[in-house]
Amino acid sequence: MQPELERELIRKCKAGDARFYEPLVRAYEPSGLRLAVAMMGNTEDAQDALQEAFIKTYDSLQRFDLRRPFGPWFFQILRNQCRDMLRGRKAKFKVEALDEDLEQRPADAERGPERTRQRNAARDVLWRGLERIGTEHREILVLKELEGFRYAEIAQILEIPEGTVASRLYHARHALRDALVEMNVEHP
């Protein structure tokens, strides 16, 4: 979504018209769901977290500074929501079989069942590796590798200095690599 359009929508939402919130929700839902699934481990808890995050975001819009990008701010709220739910009784990170519609990419179907099976196997191994590392490592990997945020954005989302992002990523990647080695998955 164009930043100018995004700002205009937020301006209208701030003025109290909730109808203009729908395009924002629909624009950020797919990437939000990806982050939430990766943090929560299952789609059901992820959707709950996502829904709560969108509501909290709307309730906090009055405090939102329009000069800043909306995405990292929303992901910061979503990340905190996931962490709260993981801390509480609502959910524990546990990899569950993902829904078919979440796993399947259009390209997979075109490449045939063998390619799909291989891709699913690789994905399964990574999910299990992610399950073995801590939340702190998992969230920074998801933000970088799945969502492709820049370091400055990750720093804002995780509320840490930008200089810390590289070292956190280094430790997270090492932790994941160690987890995969423990699972007998070979890397160069």
Binding site: Y21, E29, R34, Y58, L126, G163, S167, P188
Partner: protein
Amino acid sequence: MSEPTPSDDLMRYLDGELGPEERARVEAALERSTELQRELAIFRALKTDFQELSFHPGSHRRSVWDDVNVRVTRPLGWVFLTVGAAIWMAYGVYVFATTPADPWEKLATGAVAIGILMLLASVIVERYREAATDPYRDVQR
């Protein structure tokens, strides 16, 4: 702020976060160190694996918008309801107080109204307390 370590630089190199000068410095370090080259190869392989992990929510998955919409617009409904009810109640009290009637009649009617309001308030408070401790509150019907 502390100086970036070689491992920090390696991460920033891998993620395309370095300027041309810093890139050249890291590439020179990579040429000198097989250990650094090995680490970079491992992290590159992990990055590729993550491309496999990436997924796209299906188009037929139900959007959370409907639930979000209900929740964000509900408070406005409560505001209108509360303001409207308060105006009607104030008007009712005014009419009741200014209407010439037997004091016993006013006393009895007032007691009935107060009783109903007290019962209603106690039910709301009880439901609110129950909802806060209900272990099944998140179970969808």
